[in-house]
């Protein structure tokens, strides 16, 4: 910034746009860079995940649900099952998991001190690995 003209350009670039043609230093700093640019063909760009995502196709959704519900009703009718029995059967895996956890805890209480220490060591190691994995940022959009 050598001259008053340069300062006036800095204060108001639009009013003193002609200054760039005169001053080589200012042109180098603030002039057009004239980088080579390519025209973008928008339809050729990859489809973003959010494009069309908000569309709600209710006929497809309702058809899928009705088909599944009708199939379930027919099968329940054939098998002679009541809805309550279906609910009970679906909770069977939860009950077996609960039984496994309580049995394991009882076995752990009855186990030797060494076995208990080994178990708690494994518990800490697994949770440390989980902690380490959770620290990684999700890739998702950037992938």
């Amino acid at each position: 910034m050598k001259t008053d003209s340069c300062l006036r350009y800095l204060e108001d670039p639009d009013a003193n746009a002609g200054h760039l043609a005169e001053c080589e230093e200012c042109r180098a700093l603030f002039g057009d860079t004239e980088l080579p640019t390519k025209p973008i063909d928008v339809p050729q760009l990859p489809l973003a995940t959010w494009e069309g995502a908000s569309h709600r196709s209710w006929p497809l959704v309702l058809a899928g649900f009705v088909v599944a519900l009708a199939a379930a009703a027919v099968l329940c009718l054939i098998a002679g099952m009541t809805p309550l029995r279906v609910v009970e059967s679906s909770f069977r895996s939860v009950q077996s998991m609960r039984a496994f956890v309580f049995t394991s805890a009882a076995a752990l209480r009855a186990a030797s001190m060494g076995a208990q220490i080994a178990f708690f060591g494994a518990f800490i190691v697994v949770n440390a690995v989980l902690f380490a994995l959770l620290r990684r940022s999700p890739r998702g959009i950037d992938a």
Partner: protein, 220 residues
């Protein structure tokens, strides 16, 4: 790869139907008298009951998918993208998380006599169930998008029904539900989907894409 997958899934469904038919069919051709040697009537009834339970659960999953996708479609989409973008990480995280849930549940059960274990166990169960449900719905969305998602804008514009998060989620439930009906492979596929789902739910913090833990430098 995607084209192969699009072919693979319908072929798997057809194969599964054939395998189911072969298992359910009598070992000898029908010759006037009803003689079933390989399968008893009780086993057949049990098989129908199991199928009824599975199909009923699929209907419930569709309802859950509709509700969650309507409530937080963006989050489900983010987790679904994560499953597709870094599947191995999601799978590893899911496996470690499931192991951690089980070990933590045993430790909390160990603490039940000291009373503190009961609320901790309850909180863990609630968290695990929420993670599983959310993760499964993210996997449904990912499967639906992989199989039937639009690849180009022209394809997207030309579609009337097969577009949007809701359709992809429901389609995913139907595809995975059909696979779930395969006698031996179905539960394995469903279990793997659960692991992927739990992993993606935790990797994206339920689609919010925020870090779970603040770094020490950020905290102060």
């Amino acid at each position: 790869m995607r084209r192969m997958l699009r072919l693979f899934v319908p072929l798997t469904i057809v194969g599964a139907t054939l395998v189911t038919g072969m298992i359910a069919a009598p070992s000898e051709p029908f010759s006037g008298t009803m003689e079933i040697r390989s399968i008893t009537l009780q086993q057949a009834a049990s098989m129908v009951q199991q199928t009824a339970v599975v199909v009923s659960l699929i209907a419930v999953w569709i309802l859950a998918a509709i509700a969650l996708t309507l409530m937080s479609g963006r989050e489900v989409r983010a987790s679904s993208t994560e499953v597709r973008a870094s599947a191995l990480h999601c799978f590893t995280l899911g496996l470690v998380a499931v192991t951690s849930f089980v070990l933590t549940a045993i430790v909390f059960s160990y603490l039940v006599p000291f009373l503190i274990g009961i609320p901790l166990l309850f909180a863990l169960a609630v968290f695990a169930v929420i993670t599983k449900i959310y993760g499964m719905i993210a996997v449904f969305h990912a499967v639906g998008t992989l199989v039937a998602g639009a690849r180009t804008r022209n394809q997207l514009d030309s579609r009337k029904w097969l577009r949007g998060d809701l359709a992809m989620s429901v389609l995913g439930v139907l595809i995975l539900g059909a696979l779930r009906l395969i006698p031996v492979a179905g539960p394995i596929v469903w279990g793997l989907a659960s692991v992927f789902g739990i992993g993606s739910a935790l990797a994206t913090k339920f689609g919010r894409r925020e870090p779970w833990f603040l770094r020490v430098a950020q905290a102060f």
